[in-house]
């Protein structure tokens, strides 16, 4: 059952609310003997952390991770290594401003989960969105850092390839640029243009959506489990589980629908004594199993629902009203989704690596 767990052999279970005591994650099934410290995890959390530029929420959360279990400082080796038992990770909430939530306590913010949580559970922790807050993704990023260690030969990277209506120029793609701008944008020119665009959005109290592309390199052929544990299926599940995601594509995605079989075929020739594909429309997956090419996945993030323009809504008592969601929000929540997408890709791949090894050896 998967209410709050994801994965099978490499399995994460997350907990915590935006303004509760702590967020966290239990990573179960991690192989033993892997070197792992809090610093290894922290570096990824710092990428996702709020408040790193004027383009992300100004909430100040150090997002300091603690490893509660599953890692042992072996005095014979001096190193901290995983023991094969559950790795519990905890991030205490610090900046849960005890502000006045009366504005949103009873009103359903459009685009938020306020209405549906109330309908489902009858009760909800309305402080900052409670469980539905994007703060939960910190736990994913922490788990993703562990997942990367399980598949050390695989490189997982992501980039923002579209902000609002503005796409990058793929000819400019340079992975090195991703860390040179506040958008994780691989196109230096686009990044410059986006800065002006997003400043406009931000000052207007508005918000915009984004598209993120996640690429995993050096995934060997053979990972994935047809027909209901397909690698692309699990990637779709992983990405769609991220807050605010509305679409997922593998390889050329929706473009495949518009072209012919001749155009879409990834032909094969021998390369270095092995079959090699001449293109990668498939996004590295055929029949749900990795081909050995880059695994390529894209997902669309909707614009942040919290905006300063008044929107019509109702409250829990059935009164019609307007709402303006003040507070510290991301004008483009897709930016901070970049490390989250990487984490989910790593988690899916680590799980499939173990599953493949289980069945095939």
């Amino acid at each position: 059952m998967s209410h709050n767990s994801f994965g099978h052999l490499f399995r994460i279970t997350t907990f915590g609310e935006s303004h509760g005591m702590a967020l966290g994650c239990v990573v179960d099934g991690c192989p033993p003997g892997i070197k792992l410290t809090e610093a290894d995890i922290q570096s990824f959390l710092d990428k996702r952390k709020p408040g790193t530029s004027r383009f992300t929420t100004q909430r100040r959360e150090p997002d300091q991770v603690k490893i509660l279990s599953g890692v042992f400082e072996d005095d014979r080796t001096g190193g901290h290594v995983t023991t094969g038992t559950p790795i519990a990770l905890m991030i205490e909430n610090v900046d849960q401003r005890s502000k006045d939530y009366s504005e949103i306590r009873d009103k359903f913010r459009p685009g938020h989960a306020d209405f549906t949580y109330t309908e489902k559970y009858g009760v909800r922790d309305y402080r900052g969105g409670g469980r539905s807050s994007a703060r939960e993704t910190a736990a994913r990023v922490a788990a993703g850092a562990v997942a990367r260690k399980v598949i050390p030969k695989v490189t997982v990277r992501a980039a923002l390839v579209q902000m609002g209506p503005h796409k990058i120029n793929r000819a400019n793609w340079d992975w090195a640029e991703v860390d040179n701008n506040p958008f994780f944008c691989p196109d230096a020119e686009a990044a410059k243009a986006w800065e002006a665009y997003l400043d406009g959005i931000r000052k207007a109290g508005s918000s915009c959506g984004a598209v993120i592309e996640v690429v995993a390199s050096c995934v060997p052929a053979g990972w994935g489990a047809p027909v209901y544990g397909k690698l692309d299926q699990d990637l779709a599940s992983a990405m769609m589980s991220i807050n605010a995601v509305k679409g997922v594509e593998i390889g050329n995605g929706f473009e495949a629908a518009a072209i012919t079989g001749e155009e879409n075929a990834d032909e094969i020739r021998m390369k270095d004594g092995k079959p090699g594909f001449l293109s990668n429309n498939a996004g590295g997956i055929l029949g749900g199993i990795s081909t050995g090419q880059d695994v390529v996945c894209r997902f669309a993030v909707k614009p942040t629902s919290s905006i300063l323009t008044p929107r019509r809504t109702v409250d829990a008592n059935g009164n019609e009203t307007d709402i303006v969601t003040k507070g510290r929000h991301d004008p483009c929540v897709g930016i901070r989704a970049v490390p989250v997408g990487e984490a989910m890709m790593a988690i899916v791949l680590a799980d499939h690596f173990l599953r493949h090894r289980g069945q095939i050896g």
Copy 2:
């Protein structure tokens, strides 16, 4: 574990290869006391069945379903009802022409799973694609017919909304048209244009992709289980598990990435004494939970990989060669994916209905 199973409380396990003895499905967790006959299931299989028009494969498969278990003809009521035990469904393969498979036995057809199955398993049933064949989706459609019975108030419908590069005109949308053309197209005009287009594709020995839209009406608010059993997440998983699918969207999908928060917000007003949304960009899901609006999902199907134009490939012995995939193929496999998409939507919803009832009552 989900190699060949899907769902949790309403759980399907499928088996069978394209040219093996039989395909089938075990449906576990179905509530008891539901009237169910083979005819109920057959009507849905007949929609997916090959050979219904010149636009689908000419393979002749009656796709006759047998209920092996889980349904009891209660002599007190005269009716066949589910007993709450596993419902095993079997479809025997009939038209597995014992043709010569030497052409594809050792060659990797581009776009097919030949290469990846070989890499993963070392052995594969190459007859008609074996387990990776779209014939497996017959089992899904059978299970979907059962799922519909579990949620009788919900209506699940799907339509082809794009064929190759040609989209429908949404202003012409008429559900009644869907059964009036061989494409499940809701736009009569578009259907006419597609006929000429697809004839061209077919005669050229080519193929094209498609986009299918699935809509579930009368889904109550509250179904879905955040944060890793989100309704949209499970729909993405379900649709991406269908053969040849490369992209999935919920609601406005990728369009959401291009617009502002103001444009994307589904505002709320009171309607008939209950909160009602003024638009449905969300596709009926917020925070992973149904809102009570139509649940809307779209998926992109790539063009059929089997085409008559020679494509470059290699064989299992590392020889470079060309391949032409003769045989009886669908020029647009997306057409027969329409009832499959409906089935997967019904399966996801039936599962979430039971899960919701389990936790909430």
Copy 3:
């Protein structure tokens, strides 16, 4: 979810009722490349088959298994090998005498599941117990035959060690004797005595219970997954899931409760350059993980509930009445549970082998 599935990486899903069309099993997760024919499975089914002696039910069921999928006759090798896809196994019911079931249709037979199925589901297939019949165990035995092939170095054997109040003399234990008597008894002397005892029970229309011991040899150290996937835990689950089982023990079991820590300790000395235990009270499992010694498990089977002595009961309409369960029943259903216990042990071990390999490599 595990209504009708068991195991994780090696996972079985069974279906079928005593008097339905067919019983069967889908085995998912089996490694590819394993030689497997129907004959391999049939030999184990024949051990469990009814009607092999006067001490088992006289129902005539050939229990002929068919492999519907997952095995491919590779024309390059000539052999039938598993392909890594689901192996569907089917056993058609033949001798479902269309007798008059009016006697048990509305009466709750004491010791049977009639009452509880009715309470739970509201409807039940009363013919021969329906889904609650021990006929379901044929599917387990078939799956167990596949499981053995996954762990070819492990030997799984079982024996009847107690019939009614009569225990074997362990000093006489000889595995070779197990096939020399109709009881799977490893003690030739006891078997002789039991023959007279069980004839008496049978002629009186009575029944008796039994204890079965299952032993797996050559299980390497390290299988098992603490703390909720313990090897002993999964064995307890497996054995208790067999019809009519009321108790399970690992190693010295309940005897451990009565002795001291000094007596119970399995001391360790070096043997052939490796740690070796001087006794095996633990039954080959410590902390939920195999030690490398024989894995030893015992389970108690209650006496067959269907007896000729009238018992007091009520019917579905609340009338008090008596019942005599005529028909073709096993005087000691524990006998035919011997191959079932072996099968469940093999299934648990195959699953844990794959799970161990997944996490550890």
Copy 4:
């Protein structure tokens, strides 16, 4: 997958080692709207807590539980209620004496998991047994307290019914006595005799085993999911997962093997207008489904493996040696297993209640 998780709809995931930073548990799937405070949980932890009498380990652990998530203090109701999201519970370790572990770091203590963890994982946290320590059961007790709230009408109680070779006299059974002695013994006379017996064991540096009986009253008929989610199967799994447990029985258990069908039958008569059983050999379960009678389960706990008498063993380097396990150990670890058995029963029942409600409504 169930390495460190148990249950399906009511699902617990535990983490932590004996001498790590903290132990804990994530309870997922709990229904919303249930009043729950830390004090509700603490009262059960206090029963299991070490150091409550001279008959349990003198390690001083306050076992103070913190609720990290999943419970919200609703300012409209003033109460703390569950929100339907994961309830994370944490117990910090306090008394992890940083003593010298060199004695056991490299030696395999007989009866402990030292050898098997090393064989499986290659590394182990040897401090106090690490993950294999019975301290993990504190997390179970905490989760069990939540489970009880999910099934408020059900009463779950347990008692020690055998200490070493000494059984209680069932004629003396009085639930009220259970809290009057340090053994959870329902027979006041037996408790007195055990005191002397266990003092002898303790002073000798020895240990003894025990048998615990767990009884759940007011379980409605119909809970349980045949054939692989049987209520008795899940109880067997639950109890066998507890540290040091070697056997599990339902109802009359192994005794059933020794008697006849006539003796074993629980006959039925009408009682207060409903079918009522005249005995309960079945332990409240038939065909894997609850009958409405008391659900009765017993389990055998082996003697504590840590004893002062030297035992032969080897170390990790293959040297033969002796070991004496000093430290603060329970002379009869079965005593503190009583609240753990109750917790596991409650967890199994809460899960089956939700599963039943999911499928049947």
